[in-house]
Amino acid sequence: MTNPQSLSPTVTAVVSVKTEVPPRPAASPHWGRVLVLFFLLALFVPPFLFGGNEYRLNQITRYAALALFALSVDVIWGYTGLLSLGQGLYFGLGAYAVGYSLILQQAAVAEDLPFVYSPDMARPDYMVQCRLPEVPIWIGQLINIWVALGVAVIVPTLIAALFGYVVFRRGIKGVYFSLITQAVLMAVFTLVSNQRPYTGGVDGLTNLADLRLFGFEFQGSYYLYFLVTGILVLCFLACAALMASKFGRILTAIRDSENRVLALGYNTAMYKTFAFALSAGMAGLAGGLFVAANSSAGPQFFSIADSIEVVIFVAVGGRGTLVGAILGAVLVNVARTYANEHWREIWPILLGGLFVVVVAFMPDGIVGLFRRLAARLTGGRAAREASA
């Protein structure tokens, strides 16, 4: 039957459903916000638990930097649905930028020279060993920590913007995107490990100076932790605002069905490029801060294993939730530290099991479990929304 009248009731029904149900806000937004606020405040508590234990302070500062790294992966994977296995590239670039700065400062301190670039500036040990006659200009400029921090954020952002622009304009997505980013990472890893005169080779940059900003020493105290955590919280808030905006909605829409977003007339390639560049900038910053706490930078930052591990931080916490990224990073790292201190051999097996269990049986992570629990407690409407 091709009688148009027989079709019209269904059509109007569909249309009316779409217009009559406006998008509802998430279940009990106030409680959610209060919980997130408590969570963010709780991030500032750990240093007080460890008193003056410098080793532990450095450890938790590294966790905070890794949490920022996880946040960057969450933006690109959890929200936009693009699994980048090459985030380590941006983390590593940021790490080496700050690492170069601190190692040059250390060398300059040893020879009592000022922290400025000059052709005859003090060379770090590995350059001397490799008989590099002078510090290359592109490394030497980084001795100024502000230049280094700027480079740590801007260079990854630019690279990701360019790479993303090409990749997304060519319509590369899904698995291809993951594998190509991984291949790029592997090329860079091999390059960095192989270019010892410039990068310190497999040993990387060791024996770094302490981080000083505004003539203020950050290392060995609460201050570095508060600096890193402060930046983490700022990035969290910025991401939360972004994801709650129309822009963030479009990113999640791209994740859920890119073709529909395309059909609605959005230039999805540009949205994806922006998200990728943003996440790369955050990863670079995370790398720089990590090195400040870690006091060394090595090519393992560019390793494939490390980039995939960050993804599991996000998956454990809950992909597509910012709290989940931080929670996952902290929990997995605490578990790793505990395992390494007690039964070192077992940790890779536990980590592997975590990958399998989380991906196969707990795709929403801890935050997802928590939401389901909350939904069951409050029942009714909340349960419907949580399952939707």
């Binding site: 993951s178 291949a183 192989n194 890779p348 991906v359 196969a360």
Partner: protein, 296 residues
């Protein structure tokens, strides 16, 4: 480049290509045909190499390489079968999740092997007739490399026959083309899936066995090969095995000649990898395109 250098580069390229094809063949089936990203493929190579070690070492079985190849195939195929039945089958249609989950499986396998056999390198011995060189003019052809080319050719032939001359191959092609229709016609898609996966991982076992006699055997060796193997499959174009063969030849030849020209194997790898990525950015579908009507 002199004629001898050219000949050396050519023979190197040939064996490099065969190794790449051999390592990528299993992936070409699991990734290209079944759309499962098996990141544990490298660990399957590693398992194959360790199986070969157990088979050939005096301490254990003390047999030779010719026994090791089929035994590696069977052992690793069984591991692959278990993996498919216990994990992969829950993840069909979620390729990114298979990637993460199989990476986890890879980590577990690595550590289990590390704890069982220790972290030390395991040296392996070739049978006498495969040691040494054949001399053709001024060119030295290592016998084992020629053997590798032969094994690769045999594997390719076996796959071709299996896919196009057996009823099981017909079933695989039917399931790949149209799963619900194949199922409606009485093909057990579960059996097809698990057997195909097992066969593909078994090929990785053969590759591992071959490579164990050529390179260092270490529990972490898998990671070195898996990324390159994926590049071979993507470069060739998904969904057809001949594409992966071409991809392997291109990358292998590229590596062979680049390392001769640059005089540095590692940098050659970087350059070739960068060129492959560059090529894929220009032509994402790879060398050979299978026409598909899929929407998403």
């Amino acid at each position: 480049m002199t004629a001898t250098a050219f000949g050396e580069a050519l023979s190197n390229s040939l064996s490099l290509s065969s190794i790449l094809i051999l390592t990528a063949l299993g992936l070409a089936i699991t990734f290209g045909v079944m759309r499962v990203i098996n990141m544990a493929h490298g660990e399957m190579l590693m398992l194959g190499a360790y199986t070969a070690h157990v088979v050939t070492a005096e301490k254990y079985l003390g047999l030779n390489l010719y026994w090791a190849i089929p035994i590696s195939f069977l052992v690793v195929a069984f591991v692959g079968y278990l993996m498919e039945v216990c994990l992969i089958r829950f993840l069909y249609g979620r390729p990114l999740d298979t990637l993460l989950a199989t990476w986890g499986v890879g980590l577990i396998l690595q550590q289990v092997i590390n704890l069982t056999f220790g972290a030390n390198l395991v040296p392996m011995h070739l049978p006498e007739e495969l040691q040494g060189h054949w001399e053709i003019g001024s060119l030295n052809l290592p016998r084992y490399r020629v053997f590798i080319v032969g094994v690769t050719a045999l594997c390719l032939l076996a796959i071709y026959l299996w896919f196009y001359w057996t009823s099981f191959g017909l079933k695989i092609r039917a399931v790949v083309q149209n799963r619900p229709m194949a199922s409606a016609l009485g093909i057990s898609t579960r059996t097809v899936d698990s057997m195909t996966f097992a066969f593909a991982t078994g090929l990785a076992g053969v590759a591992g066995c071959i490579m164990g006699h050529l390179y260092n055997v270490q529990y972490t060796m898998g990671g070195d090969y898996v990324v390159e193997a994926f590049m071979v499959v993507i470069l060739g174009g998904m969904g057809q095995l001949s594409g992966s063969v071409a991809g392997g030849v291109v990358i292998g030849t590229g590596n062979g000649f680049a390392s001769k020209l640059l005089g540095n194997e590692v940098m050659a790898k970087v350059v070739i990898l960068a060129m492959v990525v560059g090529f894929l950015l220009i032509r994402p579908s790879g060398l050979f395109v299978t026409k598909e009507r899929a929407y998403d």
